[in-house]
Amino acid sequence: MTDTTALLEVRHISKFFGSVNALRDVSLTVRAGRVTCVLGDNGAGKSTLIKILSGVFPPDEGEFLIDGEPARFTSPRDARAAGISTVFQDLAMVPLMSVWRNFFLGSEPTRGWGPFRRFDVATARERTRTELGAMGIDVRDPDQAVGTLSGGERQSVAIARAIHFGARVLILDEPTSALGVKQAGLVLHRIVQARDLGLGVIFITHNPHHAYPVGDRFVVLKRGRSLGDHAKPEIERDELVRLMAGGAELDELAHELERPPPDVADYPVDTP
């Protein structure tokens, strides 16, 4: 393992909503140029974890370290300022707006002064084209509405945007969940690209087949608890799938669903 300080680390964090214990004693680390995958089924606590990491709310217990220093975020703005950029599932993109208007939404480049300060449209268009081109993203026309892009292209634009705005840690919330095989592959390529650019990536997913090829570490969540933090060499893909699906539960399910081969002779017709 490298001895570089983690870009972002949480230790033994917990979160309560009234009497509901949404997250209990979860630890996670992400280093520069590495991909940490967070796996979990629905209700495992992934969303709560993302919201803590992206500064929506602080954890009730546990430590939150940025570059090894304790940090406390009270808003997503704080997290962004610390270089933590989250690509939410809804992508924070407006489908009816053009690619370049979306790319700079909320951080528009301006020119001019005072009341004549204006959105630098030419720069925004040009930089959108070059930034996406640099990542090998092929938007045919930056003027087309984001809603007309495919799912994978949309995720790609969102990731490129996060990288452009100086993210050091990229949190991706289920970026492949609604996508077909080919489109998901496109997104996995972006994850690898971000990693190779030296970003720390936290990839949240419920699909171990997407996580395993790109991940360096795997944290599996279940019912708010961590089922362990595994480095890639320590764990096989099949083991990850089993862990994720809840091992014994899956066996039980398989048993329940199993039926003897349909043989008419075994099922005599009951004649009254």
């Binding site: 407006v94 208007r101 939404l105 081109g133």
Partner: protein
């Protein structure tokens, strides 16, 4: 452990010049503009009235002046109403506001004997405040703006009847009398007079038209070329997404409500200075024309899409319709049906353009 590159299921598409770009023809580009339907509609309406003109006035200065002024009356408010609709909200109080603000100005000048400019400043301030309340209530309560501004509309309408009866000796007609009022002449010159008059021929064009052009130009610039304009699209298109990337959605919307109220006040001040008079209930019902103009101009009822130029063209269509019917010698009782037909047509054409604009082109 190493961060060795791992094989991934699909391949990255090749970068480089894209032959598919050529597919975005000028026609596609034109069809992507939400104002196209309104432009075609305006041209058609203009040509129709040119052909049906019975009084040989349609193509004269008088003809142009008459519909342009009518268009300005609707357009000054329709343009910010269009902006607000792009921002995802409605304002039904605008019609009542045009009358209410005219009454405030008339009362301050005619009854309180204020300087006309002071009265106008206060009128705009009151309108701005009402817009602020509209916006604030909509943003805070998360109620549909349709309902909130409908309430405002009735409150304002009641005030401009009941309130006026109270302070205006039981009359709903607020005149300002024949006496001299300080500042009124200069205020008239700016808001309610004409220019480029031709002695012995015509009165010239109403300054109202200049205000319409100015409001439209400012709105076009704001929407297309400012950060605020980008926020307007985002607030109407997907406010959760907009908030997530740091767009001040609430502030954007409140600003737009203030803009529609102030625009209504501008029309109120213009009509007051033109006629030196204000009547309760004037302007009532106009909110529908403002919205019709914006919708005909390609503004989507659900927000996030639309055009300022389109809203202005929509106002021109309505202005032309009302005046053209007169010049053509048609029965003007059919005005409303005509406007309704235009609305149907415009919505149909715009739905088509909208589908073209948002359809995947690949």
């Amino acid at each position: 452990m190493t961060a060795q590159p791992t094989p991934v299921a699909a391949s990255v598409p090749p970068a480089g010049p894209d032959e598919r770009l050529a597919a975005t023809s000028w026609l596609t580009r034109a069809l992507r503009r939400p104002a196209l339907g309104a432009l075609l509609g305006a041209v058609v309406v203009f040509v129709v009235f040119t052909l049906t003109d019975q009084q040989h006035l349609w193509l004269t200065q008088t003809g142009f002046e008459s519909w342009a002024q009518q268009a300005s009356f609707y357009g000054i408010v329709a343009v910010p109403v269009g902006l607000l609709m792009i921002g995802g909200e409605f304002d039904l109080s605008t019609g009542g506001m045009t009358g209410f603000t005219a009454i405030i100005a008339a009362l301050l000048v005619g009854r309180a004997h204020w300087n006309a400019w002071a009265a106008i400043v206060v009128t705009f301030a009151v309108a701005g405040l009402i817009g602020l309340v509209n916006g604030y209530v909509v943003v805070k309560s998360k109620l549909p703006s349709f309902i909130v501004t409908l309430a405002t509309y009735f409150v304002v309408r009641g005030l401009s009847i009941g309130g006026v009866l109270l302070v205006n000796h039981g009359s709903t007609n607020v005149g300002i009398g024949g006496t001299d009022h300080s500042g009124l002449d200069s205020a008239k010159a700016v808001f309610g007079s004409t220019f480029a008059g031709n002695p012995g021929l015509a009165n010239g064009y109403a300054t109202e038209i200049l205000w319409f052009v100015a409001v439209t130009l400012v709105a076009v610039w704001v929407l297309a070329r400012t950060t605020f304009g980008n926020w307007v699209f985002a607030a109407g298109g997907d406010q959760v997404a907009a908030r997530n990337v740091g767009v001040p959605v609430a502030r954007t919307k409140v600003s737009l409500f203030v803009a529609t109220s102030m625009a209504a006040a501008l029309v109120g001040v213009i009509t007051f200075t033109q006629t030196s008079n204000a009547v309760s209930e004037q302007g009532v019902g106009n909110e529908f024309y403002f919205i019709i103009a914006a919708v005909a101009g390609g503004c989507l009822l659900t927000g996030g899409y639309g055009s300022v130029v389109g809203a202005a063209l929509g106002a021109c269509i309505i202005g032309m319709a009302f005046q053209g019917v007169i010049y053509s010698g048609w029965d003007s009782s059919w005005d409303f049906t005509f406007v309704g037909g235009i609305l149907f047509l415009a919505v149909g054409v715009n739905a088509f353009i909208y589908r073209r604009a948002t359809r995947a082109r690949r």
